[in-house]
């Protein structure tokens, strides 16, 4: 409390200094007064410096608390800066280098505790005028916590010179809070109207206090009521938007996990239970790439490791997929339930192999710096960069895959083989090679999905088994053999999941979605976008 009290007193002085311009002087004379003998006078000078909002005052006051502010023989104030061995002296007002002055002729300017409190208050006030926008923003937000009349005066001054719109908005909000606490009735009403447009939970508390205070003007309390209502509505809207974004994000993760399966299961008819392990292998590829970058390349390059991880994951898991197809699956075409058992076996072996090599505990794959953090589009919830990039990545993968399927001769061969193997073979299509490549493509995409998933969650040998049930549901729900169905299926499952979460909780929401899918499949056993005609019965 001591610091807060001192701060309050300091701000009060600052405001008094503003209110009495006769005492306020130019920067130079205020600095000169710091060298005086009277502590009371020094304190007045400090608070006046705080109120002036001159950025030079920040380093000066900091030097004063640290004992680096000296008084020269001619009464001029000198800042001593120590960098390593050398100490340089500068004139506090002009910044002129006067290192050649005899150090013995300088006296340290003494500070007492009372003065320290004043300095802290002045520095706090000055941070509203700091040259660093981040400091200004933090100060503007911080001001919200101690609304008072002097704070309001300071904020008004700061708003007048502020250029950055975001900081201005934060300052306006804090100013409204300060006015609400101490202004006239009109000011308070205006403040309530301003606060009604925000979503800060602190504002809710302030308005609640107004509403609960029976001594206040009824008009004020009504206004507070209305403001609270509008805040509540806006919070609901923000919550909805946030859920939608998280739903799309979850949907994109599901989509990434399911696209590969849409090929191996949807197009080839192989119930690929090892699909989840392909995702897991992709995530471990990302981990290995990260470790290689850390070990062998300069530290600055680490942000680029994903550039290597994505193609490596595609190639590596694609190669594993081709190997699995050649050694196991090619003997099982047309017997889907047996592919299920054999690929389950493959998945157990892959899981245990990874566990033996890397160990069972989770591995940490860090986001590159350009994927960390986020931004706040409408106030109240943050869109994180990693999720946004995954959504974008997922759509790129889907688009490229659609192009391959529909616009390349490989895609044409692939569709021909899956629709009518015998006829395709008669037409000279090398069916065995197409099978292997198709399975490799599906697995490779799963590998890239693994790289993406490593950016939002843990990397462990069990990673794949988390997604396998969901991936199958997405493919079946959307309609087997249909990329558009997979897209719609994944997004609707993701969004439904996230919209149900606030109503029913995470687990119950998920259970509700599962039951809904089970019931849906009874109604439409072939999914949302069922193939029609002769191919449907194949």
């Amino acid at each position: 409390m001591g610091v807060r009290a001192a701060r309050f007193v300091a701000i009060l002085f600052v405001v008094m200094a503003i209110a009495a311009p006769a005492e306020a002087d130019d920067f130079a004379s205020l600095v000169g007064r710091l060298a005086g003998d009277s502590f009371a006078d020094k304190e007045k000078a400090v608070t006046a410096l705080g109120a002036q909002g001159d950025p030079r005052a920040v380093s000066l006051l900091q030097a004063l608390t640290d004992g680096h502010l000296l008084r020269g023989p001619d009464g001029r104030v000198v800042v001593s800066q120590t960098a390593g061995e050398t100490t340089r002296l500068r004139d506090a007002v002009t910044g002129e280098d006067i290192s050649r002055t005899d150090p013995d002729s300088l006296d340290r300017i003494i500070v007492n505790n009372r003065l320290r409190g004043a300095i802290e208050g002045a520095l706090g006030a000055l941070s509203l005028f700091s040259t660093d926008p981040a400091v200004r923003l933090a100060a503007a937000r911080d001001a919200m916590k101690h609304p008072s009349a002097p704070e309001a005066a300071l904020l008004e001054k700061a708003i007048a010179v502020e250029q950055d719109p975001e900081i201005r908005a934060a300052m306006r909000q804090s100013l409204a809070a300060a006015r609400l606490a101490s202004g006239s009735k009109e000011q308070r009403l205006a403040a309530i109207r301003v606060l009604g447009t925000t979503t800060d939970p602190q504002v809710n508390n302030l308005l609640d206090e107004i509403r609960a205070n029976r001594d206040l003007d009824p008009a004020l309390r009504e206004a507070a009521d209305a403001a609270l209502l509008s805040i509540g509505n806006r919070l609901k809207l923000v919550g909805l938007v946030a859920n939608l974004f998280q739903g799309i994000s979850l949907g994109s993760v599901l989509l990434l996990a399911a696209i590969g399966l849409a090929i191996t299961f949807g197009v080839m008819g192989v119930i690929n239970m090892a699909h989840g392990e392909m995702i897991m292998l992709g995530a471990y590829t990302a981990y290995v790439c990260q470790q290689l970058f850390r070990a062998f390349l300069p530290a600055g390059w680490i942000d680029a490791y994903l550039g290597l991880a994505v193609p490596m994951a595609f190639l590596f898991t694609g190669a594993v997929g081709v190997a699995v197809e050649r050694s196991v699956i090619r003997f099982l075409y047309g017997r889907p339930l047996e592919t299920l058992l054999a690929t389950w076996g493959v998945s157990l072996i892959l899981q245990q192999t990874v566990r033996s090599i890397f160990g069972a505990p989770n591995k940490e794959v860090s986001n590159p710096s350009w994927m960390t953090g986020g931004f706040d589009p409408i106030g109240g919830f943050t869109v994180t960069w990693n999720r946004l990039y995954i959504i974008v990545f997922c759509f790129i993968v889907l688009a490229v895959l659609a192009l391959i399927l529909n616009r390349t001769s490989f895609g044409l061969h692939m569709r021909a083989v899956t629709q009518n193997r015998a006829m395709a073979s008669v037409m000279g299509i090398p069916t065995a090679r197409i099978d292997a490549l198709t399975f490799g493509l599906g697995s490779g995409i799963a590998g890239m999905a693994g790289v993406a998933l490593s950016q939002v969650g843990n990397v462990s040998p069990n990673l794949g088994s988390i997604y396998i049930v969901d991936s199958f549901l997405v493919v079946v729900f959307g309609g087997v053999g249909n990329l558009a169905g997979t897209l719609v299926g994944a997004l609707s499952l993701g969004i439904a999941n996230k919209l149900l979460e606030p109503l029913a909780g995470v687990i119950l929401g998920k259970i509700a979605v599962l039951i809904a899918i089970i019931l849906f499949i009874q109604r439409r056993p072939r999914g949302l976008f069922a193939l029609k005609g002769r191919t449907a019965e194949a």
Partner: protein, 380 residues
């Protein structure tokens, strides 16, 4: 409609069958308890106490495998949610055993189990009522999995959801149940499940005599389950199931009610799985939601397919062999178990599609083929 009259193949219920069935049953039911009780513990053929519930557990798994074989091997319905019926039967038994603890729990509450006291519940939830009566619990062991299978199957088979789609939605079912049972406020002990049982029907569950009794009960259940499955599969209805497995549309066009046939056999199978679960729980002493995990259900399919899909004896042999191997390997070389299991999955599907039984029968069949002239229809 389909009837249960035995097919013309009289040998299926002949004296030879009954004799071998009786011998197997008596040996299984008597040998283990006798070796456990009367042979001195230092003898080389003695059964240590810990082996009895272990063998009992294998028999429960055998009954579970039998139930899956009935629908997968004969009717072509691969359920990947059979572990759910097993676990539900197990939970019903677990609830009875929890109620038997009475005041001997940590909190000593006569009505509420420890986890309920821990969750600060004041009253017994309605779905726990009457579970202190064994008869009620036993009825629930049959009814809960049976009703779930009836409703789920009715929804699925009526819509002609078969093959892969059925496998995937049954998997979704067991996954949803797993998530639900992991919740603490479901009222089934959450992720810890239920354990620390004291008595069953008044006998101390840790006594070796009780364990021998449970083992004999498991043998009886497996024997009865085997007879039921055999009765179904060798009857005319069994032939219908085989036809369904091989050409569902054709059976439908011939005027049979495919939905009813599938629903009937699916429900019977779920009930058998539930009974297996109920016998399993007192022998291992715990039931928790991981029994619902989709991986467990897939593992049942591998027991069946290793033993020999479509042969009842194969399902039993597969379950016992795979689980013995699991017990041995997970203690001898834990890292290799998943490699072995994975390799078993791949090898049985690729190399031995008829499993162990197919491997044993092959020479006999080839000899029979060589001796008898080939029927006209099979020459193509």
């Amino acid at each position: 409609m389909w009837g249960f009259a035995p097919s013309e193949d009289k040998g299926k219920w002949g004296k030879r069958f009954w004799a071998s069935f009786a011998v197997c049953g008596i040996v299984l039911a008597l040998a283990v308890p006798l070796l456990n009780t009367w042979v001195p513990p230092d003898s080389s053929i003695a059964m240590p106490d810990y082996i009895v519930p272990l063998l009992g557990k294998y028999l429960c798994f055998a009954l579970l495998a039998l139930s899956l074989d009935l629908i997968w091997g004969y009717a072509g319905i691969l359920s990947l949610g059979h572990g759910a019926f097993f676990a539900l039967g197990g939970y019903c038994m677990g609830m009875y055993l929890m109620r038997q603890i009475g005041t001997r729990g940590v909190y000593g509450n006569p009505l509420l189990s420890d986890f309920m006291v821990f969750l600060n519940w004041k009253e017994l939830p309605w779905f726990w009522w009457e579970f202190d009566h064994f008869a009620y619990a036993a009825a629930m062991v049959v009814l809960v999995p049976g009703l779930l299978a009836l409703v789920f199957g009715w929804l699925a088979f009526r819509a002609r959801v078969t093959g892969v789609y059925l496998s995937i939605i049954t998997q979704a079912m067991t996954y949803a149940l797993m998530l639900a049972f992991f919740r603490n406020d479901m009222g089934f002990g959450g992720n810890n499940g239920m354990t620390d049982y004291k008595d069953i029907l008044g006998w101390d569950i840790h006594q070796s005599s009780t364990r021998r009794g449970l083992y004999i009960a498991s043998v009886l259940a497996l024997g009865l389950g085997y007879l039921v499955c055999r009765y179904i599969t060798v009857s005319k209805f069994g032939r219908l199931l085989l036809a369904l497995r091989d050409a569902e549309s054709r059976v439908r066009f011939l005027g049979y009610s495919v939905t009813n046939a599938q629903l009937f056999v699916f429900t019977i199978s779920a009930v058998l799985a539930g009974i297996a679960g109920a016998l399993y729980v007192p022998q291992v002493g715990i039931i928790n939601p991981s029994e619902f995990s989709p991986g467990n259900s897939i593992e049942i399919a591998i027991w069946v397919s290793i033993g020999g899909r479509g042969t009842l004896i194969g399902a039993i042999a597969g379950a016992v062999l795979v689980n013995s191997a699991k017990t041995w390997l997970t203690s001898a070389a834990p890292e290799t178990w998943l490699f072995v299991l994975g390799a078993l999955f791949i090898l049985t599907t690729l190399v031995f599609p008829h499993g162990i039984v197919g491997l044993l029968r092959r020479p006999r069949r080839i000899r029979a083929r060589a001796a008898a002239p080939m029927p006209a229809g099979e020459q193509a």
